[in-house]
């Protein structure tokens, strides 16, 4: 197992090198000249050239790249031009907010979608199957910002059940000490249930928005994969040996049906990272998505590079995790590794 992980980690290196090169080039080919932007509207060509020089943008590309790489190696992601703060601290403080939101959305989605998919497959053609189809189709057809606004309208504006959708905590709750950066976990660990409730109340609507968006692929894949496995010969053997339905469906069918579902989860997670950007805007969530969008609009390339790089690393880590899960589920994968 450790050897498999080691081998996978080695293959990650070229991917990361590629990502570094692409992020570097991407921000250089994007329209908009940061020097012009930062010199201000009343800038003269001389002052623009001066800003450009101070940013190091007048050097040849390879030299800029080398400097970029050596900065990265020292953990220096550069400074944001608009806020002046280092990108790395900015990302480190905002990443847990995004991660907490995305993970909770995904977990909610799995809790709802996987059993729904199993039920739909076991009772193929029943009302559950049709309900499942309708829910999934509706969820994926609505754009996330719309679902988000709808939830805010109903639960905040109309019913008043949830607090104002502004940030991770309302003004009266105390911020839990930074342990993992996940408010839910940190507040629980310190036994601060007041903060936990407040954080949860803020989190639930954006998480639901992401959950609704990701229901469809997970339900559909669970259903399809369960149907295929339920029709297989070893399920027939299990039935012919008189095993009860629970054992047949969970131990025999579902564990085998999990492989494609796990693959889908990986994909859904990356969709969610993308969808996050909009959801964070709607709910004024202090995550890295909204940070990156603002930076992009201002041609502030250091945060954008930092964001893309962080996402790439996250994505690589996620894929590694999925590969390991594969090995846990399927002994045949372990052998190949």
């Amino acid at each position: 197992m450790l050897a498999t992980i080691g081998k996978r980690l080695v293959t990650v290196i070229p991917t990361l090198i590629g990502v570094v090169i692409v992020t570097f080039l991407l921000t250089r080919v994007l329209p908009g000249d940061p020097a012009v932007y930062f010199a201000g509207p009343a800038a003269t060509p001389e002052s623009i050239a001066e800003v450009r020089k101070s940013l190091g943008l007048d050097r040849p590309l390879p030299e800029q790249f080398l400097r970029y790489v050596s900065d990265l190696a020292h953990g220096n992601f550069g400074n944001s031009l608009s806020t002046g703060r280092p990108v790395i601290t900015e990302i480190a403080s905002r990443l847990p907010a995004s991660a907490e939101l995305t993970l909770l959305g995904l977990v909610l989605s799995i809790i709802i979608a996987v059993p729904l998919g199993i039920l739909a497959a076991v009772k193929q053609g029943s009302w559950i199957d049709h309900t499942c189809r309708i829910v999934a189709t509706a969820g994926v057809s609505l754009p996330v910002f719309f679902t988000g606004l709808l939830l805010v309208y109903v639960f905040y504006f109309q019913l008043g059940w949830s607090p104002a959708p502004v940030g991770r905590l309302d003004a009266f709750a105390s911020t839990p000490p930074h342990i993992t950066g996940f408010y839910l976990i940190d507040s629980l660990v310190t036994g601060n249930f007041e903060s936990f409730r407040a954080a949860f109340a803020q989190l639930i609507l954006p998480a639901l928005t992401l959950c609704i968006f990701s229901l469809a692929p997970i339900t559909r894949m669970t259903r399809a994969s369960m149907l295929a496995v339920l029709a297989s010969e070893f399920v027939r053997t299990a039935r012919a040996s008189g095993l009860d339905d629970r054992t047949v469906i969970i131990t025999y069918a579902f564990r085998n049906a999990m492989l494609p579902v796990v693959t889908t989860l990986g994909m859904v997670f990356s969709f969610l990272l993308g969808a996050n950007v909009l959801v964070e805007k709607v709910f004024a969530w202090p995550g890295i998505g909204s940070y990156a969008v603002e930076a992009l609009l201002q041609s502030d390339f250091a945060p954008v590079q930092g964001f893309v790089l962080t996402m790439a690393v996250l994505y690589v880590a996620l894929n590694l995790l999925i590969d390991i899960l594969y090995g846990v589920i399927d002994p045949r994968v372990r052998l190949e590794g």
Partner: protein, 573 residues
């Protein structure tokens, strides 16, 4: 453990099927898969149900176990098990019976086991379900069950996954599953299809021994008359959902009463007959006698294979890792020799059989001769030219490709599902035929006529054709470029015996009229006996014996050949 009272009386048959009709709901309406059949099985009796695909023999067994899939249902009749009507039984009680009182063994043992669960745990699931062992004793009991089906080192095998076991071993595990709770009835659905003859014999002997020793009743479902005859007291012959004949096995093979039984008997390859004898009497009379095609002697042989070797490097994690970190592997890994220095030749117009059990290297040999994979060493001389030196990936576009063609094992899988029959046959013509698009169609029709494929089927897709028709398409495709040598890789293994009879005769006729040579790869010695002039017996990558078919079959020199021959079950005719 169950509140059903099973009557334990010797006069009551263990299983009594009366007027059973099973229906399937399909898109084209209801189809009766089994019609008003009557089958009765006494305690301790072994019953064979014999028939070709679509005869309803498997459906009957599923109906008995009540594991028909969603679309199927028992429409009429009754299934009495020890005097209890299974049709009226609630599902929860039925589930208690399954695995404990009646069990089933399926074909393709590897697929019948959960691929990601240790075999020991799968046996435990059954034992626990039927409360045959408590939590603490269950793993010991599972090991004991594995030991009873003669699995060597059961304590280790307990932790094995199905993919780590051979086909025969998997089938033993499936048998262990079925017999774990000592049921009264065992239904074996083609239990040895896909297994080698020697493995088949071992598995069947084991089933017979275990069931006899426990006084169990067995139903053996098979398409193989020889197998049914060798192991059953009574045989039921089914055709298209009907039982056409029921008799004791001695009588049914000596004096088959029904025309279908006779046809089936005739079509079964066996010693002492010719290819024409396989066909129904009226067709056999019409077909011309097989002219003994003289094998051209004196002329250099068409194909000469000399000291051919194929090695595969053994890869394991340790070597990969050490390579990764630039270290030399501690021990140089042995290469695995799939083919280990074999030499043989095929004359023009000759048909040579290549037989052996799975893993003996016969397929690797045929792939090398076909130039689909590269050899490690040795030479392959075809028509005086060393084609072994041509890299396999270049071979497809060379003119030599035209002269060596292949017919594959599975007629369904070897056809592109989106190509019509005509397009499939035309494929080699378009690639290498060098003829205009206009002529292709007429050439296809010519070929279809040659292989006996009705012309109106040419525009159908593979799923609209029967197994025999697909086999004909595959053969037409192989002869389209008028090759000198055709490699036939178990071309009839997936076909019913009556279809196999026709296809074998077709192959013989084509060989005679087109003057081709065959390399016939097969594990079925009876078929090889009918079609081949010479036979090569392989084992573990080496040739054990080769010679004229008659001589090898009747007076085998190698003990391995004798084992192979004696493992074939023969109908007592």
């Amino acid at each position: 453990m169950t509140n059903t009272t099973l009557i334990n009386d010797a006069t009551v048959p263990l299983l009594d099927i009366r007027d059973l009709t099973v229906e399937f709901a399909t898109r084209r309406g209801t189809v009766q898969a089994v019609r008003n059949i009557n089958i009765s099985l006494a305690k301790g009796e072994t019953l064979g149900i014999v028939g070709e695909s679509g005869s309803g023999k498997s459906v009957t067994s599923y109906a008995v176990m009540r594991i028909l899939d969603r679309a199927g249902r028992i429409a009429e009749g009754s299934v009495m098990f020890s005097g209890v009507d299974l049709r009226a039984m609630p599902e929860s009680q039925m589930r208690d019976l399954r695995g404990r009182e009646m069990s089933m063994i399926f074909q393709s043992p590897r697929l019948a086991l959960n691929p990601i669960r240790k075999v020991g745990h799968q046996i435990e699931d059954v034992l626990m379900q039927h409360a045959q062992a408590g939590n603490d004793a269950v793993s010991e009991k599972a090991i004991e069950v594995l030991d009873q089906v003669r699995i060597a080192r059961p304590r280790e095998r307990y932790h094995a996954y199905p993919f780590e076991l051979s086909g025969g071993m998997c089938q033993r595990v499936v048998i262990a599953l079925a017999l774990a709770c000592r049921p009264q009835l065992l239904i074996a659905d083609e239990p040895t299809t896909g297994l080698d003859v020697t493995t088949q014999k071992a598995v069947m002997d084991l089933v017979v021994e275990l069931t006899r020793e426990r006084g169990m009743s067995t139903i053996l479902i098979t398409h193989d008359l020889g197998l049914a005859a060798a192991y059953c007291n009574k045989v039921v012959v089914m055709e298209k959902g009907n039982v056409v004949e029921t008799a004791r096995s001695e009588t049914i093979f000596r004096s088959p009463a029904h025309a279908y039984t006779r046809k089936l008997m005739r079509a079964t390859p066996r010693p002492g007959i010719s290819l024409r004898d396989l066909l129904p009497e009226d067709e056999a009379a019409r077909a011309a006698l097989i002219a003994e095609t003289p094998v051209v002697v004196g002329e250099p042989p068409l194909l000469v294979v000399d000291k051919l070797v194929k090695e595969y490097a053994r890869k394991d994690l340790a070597t990969t890792m050490s390579k990764l970190f630039g270290k030399k592997p501690a021990v140089v890994p042995d290469a695995f020799r799939a083919v280990d220095g074999i030499s043989f030749s095929i004359a023009r117009g000759e048909s040579v059989g290549l037989v052996g059990e799975s893993g003996c290297g016969k397929s690797t040999t045929s792939m090398m001769v076909m130039r689909l994979i590269d050899k490690t060493s040795g030479s392959i001389t075809f028509g005086g030219e060393d084609i072994g030196e041509i890299p396999a990936r270049n071979f497809a576009t060379l003119p030599q490709r035209k002269r060596i063609q292949m017919v594959f094992q599975d007629p369904t899988d070897s056809l592109n599902p989106r190509f019509t029959a005509a397009r499939a046959i035309a494929d080699p013509l378009l690639q290498l035929g060098g003829i205009g698009r206009g002529e292709v169609r007429s050439r296809c029709e010519e070929l279809a006529t040659q292989v006996g494929l009705p012309l109106d089927l040419l525009d159908r897709f593979p799923h609209q054709l029967s197994g025999g028709q697909k086999a004909r398409v595959g053969i037409a495709r192989a002869i389209a470029l008028k090759p000198d040598l055709i490699i036939l890789d178990e071309p009839t293994a997936a076909l019913d015996v009556s279809v196999q009879a026709v296809v074998l005769n077709l192959l013989q006729d084509l060989k005679d009229s087109l003057g081709m040579s065959y390399l016939f790869v097969s594990h079925d010695l009876n078929v090889v006996r009918l079609l081949c002039d010479r036979v090569i017996v392989m084992r573990a990558g080496q040739i054990v014996e080769q010679g004229p078919t008659q001589r090898v079959m009747d007076a085998p020199e190698a003990s391995y050949t004798r084992d192979l021959l004696s493992a074939i079950p023969h109908p007592p005719i």
